[in-house]
Each structure stands twice: as structure tokens, then as C-alpha cells.
Symmetry: C2
Subunit: 79 residues, 2 copies
């Protein structure tokens, strides 16, 4: 099955990459940009019998840094 994991910085955590993109967009002449934050989208193709608990463990152990990041698991295709 196809699973997508969305990883984003927790609110309040400084996002230097987002700030750099924000400044670069303004430098290119785009106006009205108030905020930019950048996250990751991890597309996994896993065996259909993979449990939700296993997916959760993958996120906690490797895919997300639980100190500064949140994650959300989205199933793109039913098992």
C-alpha cells in the first residue's frame, strides 16, 4: 500500500529554510508573502500487512524528530 507521511516543524520552532525562501521570494519581486514554512512529504510503498503501529513507530524512530516536528500519516491506497 501507498502511505504518505507529512512531517512539519512544530509551531514556534524557527524554520531557517522557510525564512531563506521567504527572503528569496521577496528578492524576486513577489509581494504580500507573510510566512513560509517548509516540511517533508515521505512517500512509502509498504507491504499491505504493515500495521498502523509499525507506521507510527517508523515515524517516531526515524522519519520525524519528535522534539521539534509533528507528523501525520495519510494512506493513499487502502490495503
Amino acid at each position: 500500500m501507498k502511505v504518505r507521511v507529512h512531517v512539519s516543524l512544530k509551531p514556534g520552532v524557527l524554520d531557517p529554510q522557510g525564512r531563506a525562501v521567504h527572503h528569496a521570494l521577496e528578492g524576486l519581486g513577489f509581494a504580500g508573502i507573510e510566512d513560509v514554512r517548509i516540511g517533508r512529504e515521505i512517500d512509502l510503498e509498504v507491504a499491505d500487512e504493515t500495521t498502523d503501529a509499525a507506521l507510527d513507530e517508523m515515524c517516531r524512530k526515524l522519519l520525524a524528530n519528535m522534539v521539534i516536528e509533528n507528523y501525520r500519516i495519510e494512506k493513499l491506497e487502502a490495503a
Copy 2:
């Protein structure tokens, strides 16, 4: 308005970061993983009057590398 830009590598383009995560997950003992690909999710807070053309231009000029990446613009809140 809130806009989310999804940037992913085009099919066929090698994803070294995805491969590294794939190997790391297997190293941690997770079985049945067939593929891992990693993309970016860019959350923009822009002025409501920002046009679709401007958003498209931001993606083409800065947010995505059109040679190897695809992008998709998703509006999270109506203008």
C-alpha cells in the same frame, strides 16, 4: 490565504535521500518496505489578492527545480 505547494521528484529521477531512509528503516528492522521517496511541502501564507499566475511563477522560479521536480499547488483556505 494559505497555500501549500507539494514538490516531488519526477518519476525515474534517483532519490538518494529516499534510498538512505529506505535502508535505515530496514536497518531498524522494519520489513516489507518497497520504496521510499521524499518530497517537500511548502506552506505559504500570502496576501488574498495573490493570483494563480504569481503562485505558479514562484514555483517555477524558486520553489521547484523544473528539470527534475514536479509541483502541485493546493489552496488550503479560499481567498
